[in-house]
Symmetry: C2
Subunit: 116 residues, 2 copies
DNA sequence: ATCTACTACTCTGCATTACTGAGTACCACT
DNA sequence: AGTGGTACTCAGTAATGCAGAGTAGTAGAT
């Protein structure tokens, strides 16, 4: 993982995982695997599990233990009402940030065009 | 500042400041003020100054001391070749992240529409 | 002259978060 | 017994932003 990406994930990985769970309930190992498929190739399991415990403690998700055919029981997480609310807030914060960064990017772009 | 925004700024504030300086050279107090005007109303000075010292140490910016009419001399930062390269990398990482988050957002949106 | 206010930069300690790297446990197959 | 894949846990570390205080320079008010 590039250092840049690691730092950028701080504050966004939580939203990404909440959104993943919002799409459909999932357990840690599955979430980690899905993130890796999505291109976050170097996400470590420990990071995801720690995050899941965090959001569980904050009461954003409900947890259900489900036996697995191939290993220890799975902790299946699903977004509850508080989690949905929190995810909405995340989209808002994210939108605010992307708009400002996008604006900066375009200002630089325009400047470069004028410099030709 | 919301806790969400604080965490989200980790890893992105650096790019925001680099982009701000790329637009035109600037000094710390000015950058802080500009960020506040842009909507990052609760950015603290200490954060920006610490970040500037960091990117200076990494050799991403050049610094020039310029006397001020109204206070201590200003440290004017401008992006150098290495900084420009680094900023390009930032845009790449940022694009990767926004694409994936945007995709997640739309998948949830589509799901909600189907759920009607 | 000194007090206040604004400009401008610095510094220490803290909270949060992701990574590293190791460990535990359960099951299937050889 | 040993290997490999599934599934979760945990201690220690690095990086970053915030809180809050401090230092300094200039100008105008008291």
């Amino acid at each position: 993982m590039s250092k840049q990406m690691t730092e950028m994930l701080k504050g966004t990985l939580e939203g990404i995982v909440l959104a993943t769970v919002a799409l459909r309930p999932a357990y840690g190992y599955e979430i980690t695997a899905r993130l890796r498929e999505e291109g976050f190739s170097d996400i470590v399991e420990g990071t995801v599990y720690a995050l899941l415990i965090r959001i569980e403690k904050r009461g954003l998700v409900d947890v259900e233990k489900v036996p697995s055919e191939k290993g220890p029981p799975r902790k299946v997480y699903s977004l509850n009402a508080l989690g949905i609310e929190y995810l909405e807030e995340f989209w808002g914060t994210w939108k605010f940030l992307t708009e400002r960064i996008e604006r900066l990017h375009q200002e630089i772009d325009n400047q470069q065009k004028q410099g030709d």
